[in-house]
């Protein structure tokens, strides 16, 4: 098992604590001038997203987590699992609902997602920053109030609901910022 000593601690390092994978958010070296040195780290649980703090004696080691990221292509949702493929190796991965989480409503087939894998199993799926999707449902805009800042909800093919300007109609293609869940612009048919 690979180990990291506290001297190697830095933001982004992936370690195992109590059997769970964590990412180091922040590492603070603490040492009274005349005293023993410690590392106080803020770590984020990669399964739950929760952040906790831990203390280590300087020089202690912790187990490294076999965590890495791959760009995977989303294939389909079978009702239980989300299936992805590595376009380079054609290897397939199935991600649980928990791993996909919120990203579920921002992805559609063939989208490339940033997938975090732990021991080869998807732990977290990040949707692409921008989604181009068709409006499946939205109420007609009120006439005469087309571009003055009014918005209305629109449902996309992926199931996400975003606020859009009043002039957007059903069937239009939109470009959406998935990180903010915000309408960006109309998209052209390609």
């Amino acid at each position: 098992m690979a180990q990291y000593s506290t001297q190697q601690f830095k933001g982004g390092l992936k370690i195992i604590l109590d059997g769970d994978p964590y990412s180091i958010v922040e590492n603070e070296f603490v040492k009274p001038g005349k005293g023993q040195a410690f590392s106080r780290v803020k770590v984020r649980n990669l399964k739950t997203g929760r952040t906790i703090e831990r203390t280590f004696k300087s020089g202690d080691s912790v187990e490294a987590a076999d965590v890495f990221n791959l760009d995977l292509q989303f294939l389909y949702h079978d009702g239980e699992f989300y299936h992805f493929m590595d376009p380079a190796s054609f290897e397939q991965y199935q991600a649980s609902e928990a791993a996909v989480g919120d990203a579920a409503k921002w992805i559609q087939a063939e989208d490339k997602c940033d997938v975090t894998l732990w021991n080869g199993v998807p732990l977290q799926v990040d949707a692409p920053n921008f989604l181009i999707s068709r409006v499946t449902q939205t109420d007609p805009g009120v006439r005469g109030n087309t571009s003055s800042g009014g918005t209305k909800p629109a449902t996309l093919e992926t199931g996400a609901v975003v606020q859009v300007p009043l002039f957007i109609e059903e069937g239009e293609l939109l470009r959406v910022d998935t990180r903010k869940a915000e309408y960006v612009s109309r998209a052209s048919e390609s």
Binding site: N27, V30, K34, Q36, F38, F56
Partner: protein
């Protein structure tokens, strides 16, 4: 930042000169190193060690010159890298003849004020600070009490085993210290004597040393003490620290026999203070890390 740094160095030198102290620049490269369990010196192949403070050189010169001295320059500590640590940093260290611990506190207050820091705030003993902050008496608490307190504050490292010094360092560094000096620099006096080396113990209570530290905004800024003059006690304590170092598998630099020889000749009664100049500059200028005030901070040099 370079101009602010230069101005601070000039102010510190002016303050030292105004107090009649002589500036000296003792060797940074020394064949021996201080024996302290929590101090790792940088070894220089075939030449000795880079000093972690100019204490030994200054004390040898105190014996020779019999006058108050200071040194303002770089010192080195192995493995100390972080937001508030740089392995090479700037220290102002001075020794005033005839001074008591309280005299050293007062001098520090004057120096900090001249540099632009607020006046010294409250002064409490280490014991009072622990009692106030943790409801724990650091001098009488059992190892179990100390561990329970660390657990309750969520700072116990995995598989922690340790003596009193270990648990007290942990509680001090991670729980107590961050809350000190929020209203301006504050003083904590009479640290436990367990790891005291070259400082005088308290005349009334040998469980504590005549040592103090100054904290500002949760950062340790300075350390001072009434100095030990007895060379026999100095050797005993150095040997005790060597034994701890051997037990913990740390490097074992040779004991500084030249310092002990000088002390045998007669170190005058004095009190000394070491002040972290980079930390002071960072706190004075509102910078969140040392790297913003050190021209070439480690490791991005």
């Amino acid at each position: 930042m370079l101009a602010e740094r230069a101005a601070l160095l000039a102010t510190l030198r002016d303050e030292m000169a105004a107090r009649g102290m002589l500036e000296v620049d003792t060797a940074l490269l020394s064949p021996a190193a201080p024996c302290e369990r929590a101090l790792e010196c940088l070894a220089v192949g075939g030449a000795g060690y880079l000093v972690p403070s100019p204490e030994h050189g200054l004390k040898r010169l105190l014996v020779e010159t019999r006058r108050s001295l200071y040194q303002l320059g770089h010192v080195f500590r192995a493995g100390e890298v972080g937001r508030w640590h740089n392995p090479e940093f700037t220290m102002l260290e001075w020794y005033e003849l005839g001074g008591s611990m309280q005299d050293a506190v007062d001098t520090l207050g004057t120096v900090l004020a001249a540099a632009g820091a607020p006046a010294l705030g409250r002064q409490r003993t280490y014991r009072a600070v622990f009692t106030d902050t943790l409801a724990l008496d650091p001098l009488t608490a059992s190892l179990d009490d100390l561990e329970r307190c660390a657990d309750a504050h969520g700072v116990t490292p995995p598989e922690a085993r340790g003596d009193r010094v270990f648990w007290l360092d942990l509680l001090m560094g991670l729980v107590v210290q961050p809350r000190l000096g929020t209203q301006g620099p504050e003083i904590v006096t009479h640290f436990p004597a367990d790891d005291a080396v070259l400082i005088a113990l308290d005349g009334d209570d040998a469980r504590v040393g005549q040592r103090f530290e100054c904290f500002w905004q949760g950062i340790e800024l300075a350390n001072g003490a009434k100095e030990l003059t007895d060379p026999r006690l100095a050797r005993q304590r150095m040997q005790r620290e060597q034994d701890v170092r051997i037990e913990q598998g740390q490097a074992e630099p040779p004991i500084d026999e030249r310092l002990l020889a000088a002390m045998a000749t007669g170190l005058p009664e004095c009190a000394g203070v070491a002040l972290g100049v980079d930390r002071l500059l960072a706190l004075l200028t509102g910078k969140p890390r040392l790297a913003e005030v050190i021209p070439f901070a480690w490791p991005a040099r």
